[in-house]
């Protein structure tokens, strides 16, 4: 049968209802007339003939109703009736409707907002061809450091000897100075093996891809631009192809532009911590022993169809092991790992997101419980109305359907309002999200998200609507219709349902609050960590000098020294220092193995290793890193190499236990001709990689000893450090007008980004925990209020018989507290199970932390006490005479 046709016929019938009925009546009339006439022809008297005709026709009303089922609007019509009826009902009970809609909107809105993030980050396909087959390949260091970069030689070994991969590409990021077009600017350039875009399955939209010959040593440098960089700097000029642009003074020929929106940024071990604006070919000079051994390459590969990442990892490990046997000096003890791209991109945000989605799911359940409770109270008040309808012949299913229509209407309005809240909430989420949550700027209300909202709204409607509707129609007609029963006609079952709902709410709220509490404590532990320096009132910025302009080491040294000297004279600046890599800036630092003079050559793979930083003497004073023993760099040591270094406490403790490190000589091979250097002082530990990891051994070179082309300046100021930024920029430009100044941030901003993720998780869970508590409190309040209404007469009687206010209060409080206690116990059990999922997000807190749990229980009990107390206090003000006379 053609449903569309039937539907449209029904719809027509619905719109011309009177005409349809008229038509049927007319047809029946004609029938009776014809039958009467036939009877007359058979010889009956006129009056008898009509009577007989009517008799043989049967029950006209019944037949007409039955006929109308087919001719009229049918289901649609009754649905329409239900809808209008529901709208009238909801409009009449405005308070109920508003509370229910807001509750639902909060639940649905928070779910929609979080789901949109989950959808974007965890569910949506990644923008690369067949991206589920893309994996990242990393080394694991002998010290067990995971996701470590590899070397050119090992990458070649992997590419040649593994069998699990279809293709493989290596890449590394650098910051280079763009000059020659407009203002000088430091941009992120990603050097990749020419296969990079082929592996990702994305091709330039303008120009050509990288070719194998671009990756040969001494090949002319090429550039492929990101679409946004092309637009921003060159206004999308198509004639740019074939023209050179200057990067660090070297001409790079532009050969292509990538599609809009294409991004390839792997945060882990990124040398710059930001997405590339331009790509170029990485040359692979594999010449002698030692060259090509530096570990700085990230590797992406495409699995052959049907190969799992586990199989690929076994394959890669075998090859890595072989590389270790071939050249133990460089590779002994190293292992390798394969990480699916999705996991790599989302990292441990994945777990946090699922947990937060679970949390908003709980909030929605609590919201449902609340609305179900409201519906129960309401349907109890409407018992008489429902009974009348049932008595007039409406079937139970018909009444349930009508009550459910009301639920769906509520859920739809709640869902619409929820969408508004979600749109607003997503904006807020993006604003507070850590910058390193990938691609959050694309999060929004798309079709998938709308589908999800629709889905949860309907599921919600069934959850909160069905039980009350079934409950409301399970009634005793006689009892309900009798006068004077008032609300006491409530069945014990509906009372039990109501209590179960409160218990559920309390339990769910407790689980959420416990999770939020644990994260809060973890967050405060994180804040309490001694990072080893004082980040307040410090401005940081990066100066990278172009290698074309500055040839000799002393050129760099003198520029940097001059710049610090100039900035120091600015009013409001108390001290200025510099270091090559800031602590906690979110990118790569440098490190290497080293030897200690006078000690035997260590076995391969057992060489001590250290982080390496280059700084000046004022770095330590500016950052307030204490000098523990010995002395700081002298002025002379800051102008020429004197073969001295400072080390941190961890270095002294680990490599010079029980002896004095000062005066010892170490060789840290950071240049072509490494010299032995003398340790002149020991400074305090600084956490460079992450706040949660202990500081590693670190050597500080003075800038002249190990010259870097870039330095991060740290400037301690008296007031707001960012206020002084323009003045600092002017000072730098006074020395060299073309010199870009980049990454101007306060040290707290730099650090904020590493704590940001923890803050984000904590903030969200605390928010939803709070929301859950509020909703649960409203639920308890509602139930108490309702049960008080049921017991008005009883209380009046008790008071008339001499019960004291206090006794009445206790009676009512006890009822609420019993429910809360049961919910609390169930909640604690649930929380102990569920918070274990949180363990990996927690720092310095046990997932079953007793003080947190105790605190949460006290909090929840107090809230429910207040929610019970308010209605109960009103009960004590009942005038017994009025109460007794009431229905």
């Amino acid at each position: 049968m053609k449903w569309g046709k039937v539907f449209s016929a029904r719809w027509q019938a619905l719109r011309n209802r009177d005409q349809v009925i008229e038509d049927i009546d007319e047809e029946f009339r004609v029938h009776v007339e014809l039958a009467t006439q036939a009877n007359v022809e058979r010889g009956m008297a006129e009056a008898d003939a009509k009577k007989a005709a009517l008799r043989s026709f049967g029950n006209v009303g019944g037949v007409r109703d039955e006929a109308y089922e087919f001719r009229g609007g049918g289901m649609i019509e009754s649905l329409w009736q239900d809808l209008r009826y529901a709208m009238r009902g909801l409009a009449k009970q405005r308070a109920f409707t508003i509370v229910a809609v807001i509750t639902l909107a909060l639940g649905i809105g928070s779910n929609t907002a979080i789901f949109s993030v989950v959808n974007e980050l965890l569910l949506r396909p990644m923008p690369y061809l067949d991206a589920e087959r893309l994996v990242m390949l990393w080394e694991v260091t002998p010290e067990g450091r995971h996701q470590n970069t590899t070397s050119r030689i090992n990458f070649s070994g992997w590419r040649e000897q593994t069998t699990s991969f279809e293709s493989m590409a290596a890449f590394t990021d650098q910051r280079l100075n763009l000059t020659g077009v407009g203002e000088a600017e430091e941009i992120t350039v990603q050097f990749g093996t020419p296969s990079l875009f082929h592996v990702l399955g994305v091709q330039p939209i303008v120009g050509r891809d990288m070719r194998d010959e671009d990756g040969l040593k001494d090949a002319p440098p090429i550039a492929i631009l990101s679409h946004s960089f092309w637009q921003r700097r060159f206004g999308g000029d198509p004639n740019l192809i074939g023209k050179p642009i200057l990067l660090n003074g070297v001409p790079f020929t532009v050969v292509g532009v990538m599609p809009a929106g294409f991004q390839w940024h792997v945060k882990q071990r990124s040398g710059t911590g930001r997405p590339a604006e331009l790509w170029s070919a990485l040359d692979m000079p594999i010449t002698s022993e030692g060259a090509g051994r530096g570990r700085f390459l990230s590797v992406v590969a495409r699995l052959k169809p049907g190969v799992t990442s586990q199989q690929a990892e076994a394959d890669l490990k075998t090859v890595e092991n072989r590389l270790g046997l071939d050249s133990p000096k460089f590779n002994k003890g190293y292992s390798a790992e394969v990480i699916p791209l999705r996991n790599q991109m989302v990292g441990n945000v994945r777990l946090a997101l699922w947990i937060i989605l679970g949390a908003v799911g709980f909030v929605l359940l609590i919201a449902c419980a609340n609305v179900a409770n409201l519906m129960l109270s309401r349907s109890a008040a409407r018992e008489k109305e429902i009974a009348v309808r049932a008595a007039l012949g409406a079937g139970r299913w018909r009444i349930v359907r009508q009550l459910l229509t009301e639920s769906f209407l509520l859920a739809t309005i709640g869902g619409l309002l929820g969408l508004v809240l979600a749109a607003w909430g997503i904006k807020a989420l993006v604003a507070i999200s850590p910058r390193d949550l990938l691609n959050l700027q694309h999060v929004g209300l798309n079709l998938t998200v709308l589908g999800w909202t629709l889905g949860i709204s309907f599921v919600t409607a069934i959850i909160f609507g069905l039980a009350p509707a079934l409950e409301a129609t399970r009634l005793n007609l006689n009892g309900a219709l009798k006068e004077g029963k008032g609300a006491e006609g409530q069945s014990p079952r509906s009372g039990r349902l109501r209590k179960a709902l409160v218990i559920t709410e309390v339990a769910l709220a407790l689980i959420l609050l416990a999770s939020a509490g644990l994260l809060l404590k973890s967050f405060s532990q994180l804040q309490k960590i001694n990072s080893g320096f004082n980040p307040d009132n410090v401005l940081t910025l990066v100066l990278r000098l172009p290698e074309t302009k500055y040839k000799e080491d002393r050129d760099y040294v003198s520029f940097f020294n001059r710049a610090t000297g100039q900035i120091r004279t600015l009013p409001g600046v108390t001290s200025v220092g510099m270091v090559n890599f800031l602590p906690l800036y979110g990118g790569l630092g440098s490190g290497t193995g080293f030897t200690i003079e006078g000690r035997p050559e260590p076995a391969p793979g057992e060489q001590p290793s250290t982080n390496v930083r280059v700084s000046d003497a004022d770095y330590f004073t500016t950052m307030q890193i204490p000098l523990l023993r010995g002395r700081n760099f002298s002025a002379l040591e800051m102008t020429e190499p004197r073969h001295v270094v400072l080390v941190n406490e961890a270095m002294a403790r680990k490599h010079f236990p029980g002896e004095d490190a000062i005066g010892k000589r170490i060789t840290v091979p950071m240049s072509d001709k490494p010299a032995a250097t003398e340790i002149i002082g020991i400074v305090g530990d600084v956490r460079y990689d992450s706040l949660v990891d202990q500081a590693e051994p670190t050597v500080y070179f003075p800038e002249p000893e190990l010259t870097y082309p870039f330095m991060t300046f740290v400037i301690r100021t008296r007031g707001d450090p960012l206020a002084i930024a323009p003045a600092v920029q002017r000072e730098v430009h006074a020395i060299d007008n073309e010199q870009p100044v980049s990454d101007m941030r306060s040290m707290n901003q730099v650090m904020g980004e590493t704590v940001a993720r923890a803050r984000f998780n904590t903030l969200l869970l605390a928010l939803f925990g709070g929301l859950a508590t509020l909703l649960a409190a409203v639920g308890i309040f509602g139930v108490m209020n309702y049960s008080l209404a049921l017991r008005t007469r009883e209380i009046g009687l008790r008071m008339a018989l001499g019960a004291q206010n206090r006794q009445v209060l206790l009676l009512l409080l006890r009822q609420g507290l019993v429910l809360t206690s049961i919910g609390t116990v169930i909640g604690i059990a649930g929380a102990l199970v569920l918070t274990r999922l949180l363990s990996s997000l927690l720092f310095g807190v046990n997932a079953a932390d007793p003080t947190i749990f105790a605190g949460i229980v006290v909090l929840l009990m107090s809230v429910s006490l207040i929610a019970c107390y308010l209605p109960a206090r009103r009960a004590t003000r009942i005038d017994p005479m009025i109460a007794l006379r009431s229905e």
């Binding site: 049968m1 053609k2 046709k5 039937v6 016929a9 038509d23 049927i24 007319e26 047809e27 029946f28 004609v30 029938h31 007339e33 014809l34 039958a35 036939a38 043989s56 026709f57 049967g58 029950n59 006209v60 019944g62 037949v63 039955e66 006929a67 089922e69 087919f70 001719r71």
Partner: protein, 110 residues
């Protein structure tokens, strides 16, 4: 069980209506007269219950209806078999014949 019987009767009524209309368009009262007449007055239909059945098969597209003037000069609603209705009649007659055959065979088997 009861439902089964009802279905069977309903199905039968459908077939009777289709058969009655197979000779030409008729109004409701005419259909009843035709069924009585064609069955040699062995079958009678409760007149009122004709209409719900008629509307249902109209909805299925087996018959079409329009108001027209009766040969006595009175306006009445006339029903005519559609092409799908004619095919349906064949289907129903065939399955009815099979049923009759089957029942007959079973009765003879005893």
């Amino acid at each position: 069980m009861a439902k089964h019987t009802a279905d069977l009767l309903q199905g039968t009524l459908d077939m009777l209506i289709l058969k009655a209309l197979s000779l030409g368009p008729l109004h409701g009262y005419g259909i009843i007269q035709r069924i009585v007449q064609m069955s040699g007055e062995m079958l009678t239909v409760e007149q009122g219950s004709l209409y719900p059945a008629l509307y249902r098969i109209e909805q299925k597209g087996w018959v079409s209806s329009k108001w027209d003037t009766h040969d006595t000069g009175r306006r009445a609603k006339f029903y005519a078999l559609t092409r799908t209705g004619r095919r349906q009649l064949e289907v129903e007659e065939a399955s009815w014949d099979r049923l009759v055959l089957a029942v007959t065979k079973m009765r003879q088997a005893t």
